[in-house]
């Protein structure tokens, strides 16, 4: 299962949970599972980028996940 690490500021939306293991083949299914598990988090997820095993995707879409992927939610970055 992929391990999802949430920014510490999201603890208020997850009852204090900062990381969670989720079985998902792709980022889309993983985010859907997060929304289901933590409904209060849903609005926040729309503004996050996703780092999969160290590589950051501003729009992760349907990126595939490995069974043991590390997934970090990070704020989207705007470059100049």
């Amino acid at each position: 299962m992929a391990t999802v690490y949430l920014p510490s500021g999201f603890a208020q939306f997850t009852g204090g949970v900062e990381s969670v293991a989720i079985e998902a083949p792709r980022v889309a299914e993983l985010l859907a599972a997060l929304r289901t598990r933590f409904p209060a988090l849903a609005d926040q997820l729309d503004e996050m980028a996703v780092a999969i095993d160290g590589t950051i995707y501003a729009e992760p879409g349907y990126q595939p996940l490995r069974a043991d992927s590390d997934v970090h939610l990070v704020p989207r970055i705007a470059g100049g």
Partner: protein
């Protein structure tokens, strides 16, 4: 990615657009003039904060030469968001920013527009517009904005992210956190702790070319816009949303661009010009003055950053606490989240807590500026790191090496680093002769690091082959940093043709595949990757065409730098002679007979390019009698992954360093108490010019990025990050004073020196000394 040997990449050909630019033939935003065109002008708010009670435009509409008048009520209200590449932007905010509705929230915000047959007539008509305001008290700093009972900019503003304090009835637009480990326990382990609070001023990107556009919109709602922009697709989508058009009916043609640095990603003029044109049924041209650029386009945030870092005696950093407050300007969206993510990025620190605050104030809405958010955060952190090195009597580079992140380390912002060049950059800096050179009288040397993520995102490229074997490559990225030349070099590398026979073109939005902005240091990385893939598609097609001429299977032929080799025993199908290797030009010459035109295309969505690190060494000489300082030697080192055109990589590094030095030494928006900028011109807003700076030496470090076929990382943003810290640390060395507020302008420096002198002489100091 393999350890590839390059033929073209890494060389320094003359840029394809160079002659046009140095001879004045290149056409910029204000260079277009269309038949029957009108001139547009904007009436701007004289107040930084006020309610609009009424606007009467009747006299203006009746003025000689006036063909259209526009106010906020003429534009649709929208809650759409559009992609700005890495982030979405609220179109409602963007629309209100370029034309106020019921309230003005910064001095210079447009409240009405006029299109007339001459610019003088348009300006004269603006004077006939009567606006009644109810003036409100402005808030100009984060402290004022967050003070209890502060005037509110937006009654409906909601604090995004982690909630601390009120969710509404606030000027706090957002709050973010990052933490790791046990911060309190970490500080307990520290032998030395340094804590300081830093401030940086509002500064502008300072692009030489002001915003400019010309637009026409017909009865059918179809519009064409010519403008200076970093993102023609952003202009298309934002203009359509704000002006109330179908984006399918809007075509944007990007002009040459005289600098942007992030400030030409959002729109200011284009929707207004389109809306005026739609009313007048004639083209409308709008060009900002420098005064307007300063007052009403995006600078970057003024900031307050509090840093506390603890280290063991051996230099190991054990804990950090960083709090950031960034001004967003009049609408939400400062780059404070990025600042928080960059602040500690170079270091492996087991215990830290970072909180970041996005605060609205009555100043122009900030826009992206080269590595948005990073320079201010890293100025603060790198200043404190410098102080720790002093307390521990360690070489500043050794201290950083001891704590430097490496491949496999978890970045402070979350994920683990892949291959990064931080240690290679630090090693190169330590070996550089500059680091060990003697320092002259009244001089000091400073060192600082910089970090930026580098972007990826959407890119597309099309390559067409001519019958003469030349190639044309089309992308949708305006060329700011020499990317046309880099793209032509990539085509030349892949096809083995002369780079001078590749024509790189910046295409309009009807021609190019959707492409995200020229920004985020992404073009050479992401669009470059699309160009390489498109060239490789051309190469495969060339192999198929040659195979057809030899009547063999495509997989039997081989590619060898610019030509296709036949298999043993193959015959030319037409002549029956032994098949000979065919060059690109020879295959192209027969394309009509082998299947028609040869075209390669590629489109992709790239992840972020991968972290970039830079290190700068600055020697500063300070005149103790005037407080004036002068950079006497400067060296910038950076891991760029792979330099496609080293001259333009060096140019990016030098340009970033120059802008960062200006930010550190002189640049600042000066506001009066009413929120009116008092130095809105280059005479009073002092950017460095060539005569202010020494030659900036550059060292290119190449630790290949595995996410790109050539190893490219992205270059343009990292080099603006280190100068703030490097200059401040040099000032510390030269004067013995830790300055915590930028810019280090002569009056501020002189004031602090006078304070130190007074203390030494036992007189009452005029100011407290920072260190």
């Amino acid at each position: 990615m393999s350890e590839r040997t390059f033929e073209v990449v890494g060389t320094r050909p003359v840029r394809h657009d160079g002659v046009d630019k140095v001879t004045g033939r290149a056409a910029y935003g204000a260079d277009a003039n269309w038949p029957g065109m009108l001139h547009g002008a904007l009436l701007r708010s004289p107040h930084a904060h006020a309610r609009i009670v009424s606007i009467d435009t009747r006299a203006a509409a009746a003025a000689p030469g006036v063909k259209a008048v526009l106010i906020g009520a003429d534009l649709p209200d929208t809650h759409a968001t559009i992609s700005l590449g890495e982030a979405a932007m609220d179109v409602r905010d963007m629309s209100h920013n370029l034309m106020a509705r019921d309230k003005v929230v910064y001095h210079g915000q447009p409240v009405a527009a006029v299109a007339a047959t001459t610019l003088d007539a348009a300006r004269e008509a603006l004077g006939r517009i009567v606006v009644q305001y109810e003036v409100l008290t402005p808030v100009l700093t984060v402290d004022e904005a967050l003070a209890p009972g502060a005037p509110l900019l937006h009654d409906d503003l909601v604090t995004k992210g982690a909630a601390v304090g009120p969710k509404t009835g606030t000027n706090l637009a957002g709050r973010y956190e990052f933490k790791r480990g046990d911060v309190a326990a970490g500080f307990q382990e520290a032998d030395t702790i340094v804590e300081r609070e830093f401030r940086t001023a509002t500064v502008h990107q300072g692009y030489i070319e002001p915003h400019a556009c010309i637009a026409r919109c017909g009865e059918d709602g179809r519009a064409v816009v010519w403008c200076s922009t970093q993102g023609p697709f952003v202009v298309r989508d934002a203009t359509a949303a704000i002006a109330g058009l179908d984006a399918a009916h809007v075509k944007v043609i990007p002009s040459e661009i005289g600098g942007g640095f992030g400030g030409k990603i959002v729109v200011y003029l284009e929707p207004i010009a389109v809306a005026l044109s739609r009313k007048a049924q004639r083209p409308v041209k709008m060009v900002m003055s420098r005064d307007e650029v300063f007052r009403a386009t995006g600078p970057t945030s003024g900031t307050k950053v509090h840093v506390r870092i603890g280290a063991r005696r051996d230099g190991t950093i054990v804990a950090a606490r960083v709090s950031l407050w960034y001004e967003a300007g009049a609408f939400r969206g400062s780059p404070v989240g990025a600042g928080a993510m960059c602040a500690l990025a170079p270091y492996t620190i087991p215990n830290f807590f970072i909180d970041a605050h996005d605060v609205v104030v009555n100043k122009p809405k900030v826009a992206a500026y080269r590595a948005p958010g990073s320079p201010m955060a890293m100025f603060a952190v790198e200043s404190v790191i410098d102080e720790i090195a002093r307390e521990l009597k360690m070489d500043p580079i050794d201290l950083r090496l001891k704590n430097a992140a490496a491949e496999g380390d978890q970045a402070a912002y979350g994920p683990k680093f892949g291959p990064i060049g931080l240690r290679a950059v630090l090693d190169a800096a330590k070996r550089h002769p500059h680091w060990s050179a003697p320092v002259g009288p009244n001089q000091g040397r400073g060192f600082a690091l910089g970090f930026w993520f580098n972007g990826g995102m959407n890119s597309a490229a099309t390559i067409t082959l001519g019958a003469d074997g030349s190639a044309a490559v089309f992308t949708g990225n305006p060329d700011i940093g020499g990317t046309r030349a880099a793209q032509a070099m990539m085509v030349a590398e892949e096809l083995g043709v002369d780079v001078d026979r590749v024509r790189p073109t910046v295409a309009d939005t009807d021609t190019a595949g959707y492409t995200d902005v020229t920004g985020g240091s992404r073009v050479c990385f992401a669009t470059g990757m699309a160009v390489i893939q498109a060239a490789q598609e051309v190469r495969e097609e060339l192999k198929r065409r040659a195979a057809k001429m030899w009547n063999v299977a495509p997989e039997q032929v081989t590619w060898e730098r610019g030509r296709v080799l036949p298999p043993a025993g193959a015959k030319d199908a037409k002549s029956g002679a032994d098949a000979q290797p065919l060059t690109v030009a020879q295959i192209a010459a027969r394309m009509t007979h082998t299947g028609g035109p040869i075209v390669g295309r590629a489109a992709l969505y790239a992840p972020m390019a991968g972290p970039g690190f830079g290190a700068h060494i600055c020697d500063l000489e300070v005149d103790p009698e005037t407080g004036r300082s002068r950079v006497v030697r400067y060296t910038a080192l950076q891991d760029v992954g792979k330099a496609v055109h080293p001259s333009y990589v060096e140019g990016q590094i030098q340009g970033g360093a120059a802008q960062g030095i200006g930010w550190a030494l002189n640049e600042e928006y000066v506001y009066n108490r009413d929120g009116v900028m008092e130095n809105a011109g280059f005479l009073d807003y002092r950017m460095p010019v060539a005569s202010d700076l020494p030659f900036i030496d550059t060292v290119i470090v190449e630790v290949p990025n595995p996410l790109h076929p050539y190893g490219v990382r992205g270059v343009g943003e990292v080099p603006i990050v280190p100068p703030l810290g490097a200059v401040a640390n040099a000032m510390r060395s030269a004067t013995g004073i830790r300055f915590t507020e930028l810019p280090l302008s002569p009056p501020r420096v002189l004031e602090q020196i006078a304070g130190v002198d007074a203390r030494r002489e036992g007189r009452p100091g005029t100011v407290a000394v920072g260190a």
